[in-house]
């Protein structure tokens, strides 16, 4: 049986019958797009690999919950996106503490409880990773808000439709359009010299 010739729904059906070769084929098809999306979101190769691994494991181990009326790739991206966003939100919550204890009611108390951190600018190792995954365009994408970043990557890099992006990000269609429109404007502003 040549798995490379099978469609995604056929492979998913075989996966549900515990055919591991079909899972390996689906993994081969989507490992790069899923990893790329996560990598561009978190800008850390090791972390991106851990999150991508977790996304695939969760998707395959929970195939019983997959609704075949949606594209498998959209579902997989949704799992990956949710994991990544959860991680980024958790990370953001962790960093809130650097601004001082939430229970500190005065500016002095906040200053006293705040943790001194190094510059919030990109660290040298992160800068290296930005260089690794691309050029000036990658840096510009990295500076976008997380929601704009994922929406613009899904639309222009992965070629997903607005409807699919809305499903993946679990937001209304109008919100997706707004994210993409704003992301384009920001990128066009930053990359004007390249796009002319």
């Amino acid at each position: 049986m040549d798995y490379r010739e099978k469609s995604d729904p056929e492979l998913v059906e075989l996966c549900k019958r515990a055919d591991e070769r079909s899972a390996a084929e689906l993994l081969r098809r989507f490992e790069r797009p899923v990893f790329s999306l996560i990598y561009r979101m978190v800008r850390d190769r090791e972390l991106a690999e851990d999150l991508a691994q977790e996304a695939f494991v969760r998707a395959f181990n929970n195939l019983g919950r997959y609704d075949p009326s949606y594209k498998f790739s959209s579902w997989l991206f949704k799992v990956a996106y949710n994991l990544t966003i959860d991680h980024l939100r958790k990370k953001r919550l962790d960093t809130v503490s650097i601004h001082g204890s939430p229970s500190a009611v005065t500016t002095e108390l906040q200053a006293a409880t705040a943790i001194t951190v190094e510059s919030m600018e990109e660290r040298p190792d992160e800068a290296l990773q930005s260089h690794e995954i691309g050029s000036e365009i990658e840096v510009a994408i990295g500076e976008l808000r997380e929601e704009y970043r994922s929406a613009i990557i899904l639309r222009h890099v992965e070629g997903r439709s607005y409807e699919e992006i809305a499903e993946i990000m679990d937001v209304p269609l109008g919100t997706v359009k707004t994210y993409i429109h704003r992301a384009r404007k920001e990128l066009q502003g930053q990359l004007q010299h390249l796009l002319e």
Binding site: K16, A18, L27, F56, F60
Partner: protein, 210 residues
């Protein structure tokens, strides 16, 4: 569309700009006419086209070479019970068909034997109910037994039932059913170990990584 017909000078909407920039199929004539005349909209379309080309040309960075192996080591696909049952049935259809035939034959014989008993018609309703429960219990135990035991064993049980009476037979078959359930458990464990053995070795050895 109506808006554009009413006001052909109105600039393209973001959706229309995208339609032209990405070369999507729906490109209304009125909007196309406006695009031919409006330098601002033309610039918008060209700018988005350039951005799309730049973004769609970005590479997909690859994960490390061991990524797939590490994922597969953590994946445990498990088919639903009915598919597993069907797989076992397909692979072992000869003994299962024999067991089913034995069960059908045994049930028919039992029914024939019961209807041939003259005292059956004189039984009270409660006696009949108890008899039915006994018959049912016997059939259940026989059914379980005939799934895994050979027809000769089932025949021996029928003979024993005739000699030692129904209560003794039920006791005997209960003991046999305990053995049967243990055997079925052992068989399922055996099937699972066979399935594990069929997996490619490198996935098994990578278990625990990640």
């Amino acid at each position: 569309m109506r808006d554009r017909a009413a006001n052909p000078r109105r600039h393209l909407t973001p959706d229309e700009v995208e339609t032209f920039a990405l070369g999507l199929p729906a490109r209304p004539r009125a909007a196309r006419a406006h695009l031919g005349e409006c330098a601002e909209c033309h610039r918008e379309v060209e700018s988005l086209r350039a951005l799309d080309e730049a973004l769609s040309g970005l590479a997909h960075p690859a994960p490390s070479p061991r990524f797939a192996e590490q994922v597969m080591a953590r994946v445990s696909l498990r088919a639903p019970w009915y598919i597993r049952a069907w797989t076992v049935t397909r692979e072992r259809w000869v003994p299962l068909a024999a067991a089913s035939l034995t069960l059908a034959a045994t049930t028919s014989l039992m029914a024939l034997w019961l209807t041939s008993q003259p005292e059956l018609s004189l039984m009270s309703l409660s006696g009949l109910v108890i008899q039915q429960i006994r018959d049912f219990s016997l059939q259940v135990v026989m059914a379980i037994g005939s799934l895994l035991w050979s027809s000769s064993v089932v025949r021996s049980v029928i003979e024993a039932a005739e000699r030692i009476g129904m209560e003794g037979a039920i006791l005997l078959l209960s003991a046999l059913s305990l053995v049967t359930i243990s055997a079925a458990g052992a068989m399922m464990r055996n099937i699972e170990s066979e399935e594990r053995a069929l997996r490619p070795r490198h996935w098994k050895t990578l278990k625990g990584i990640g």
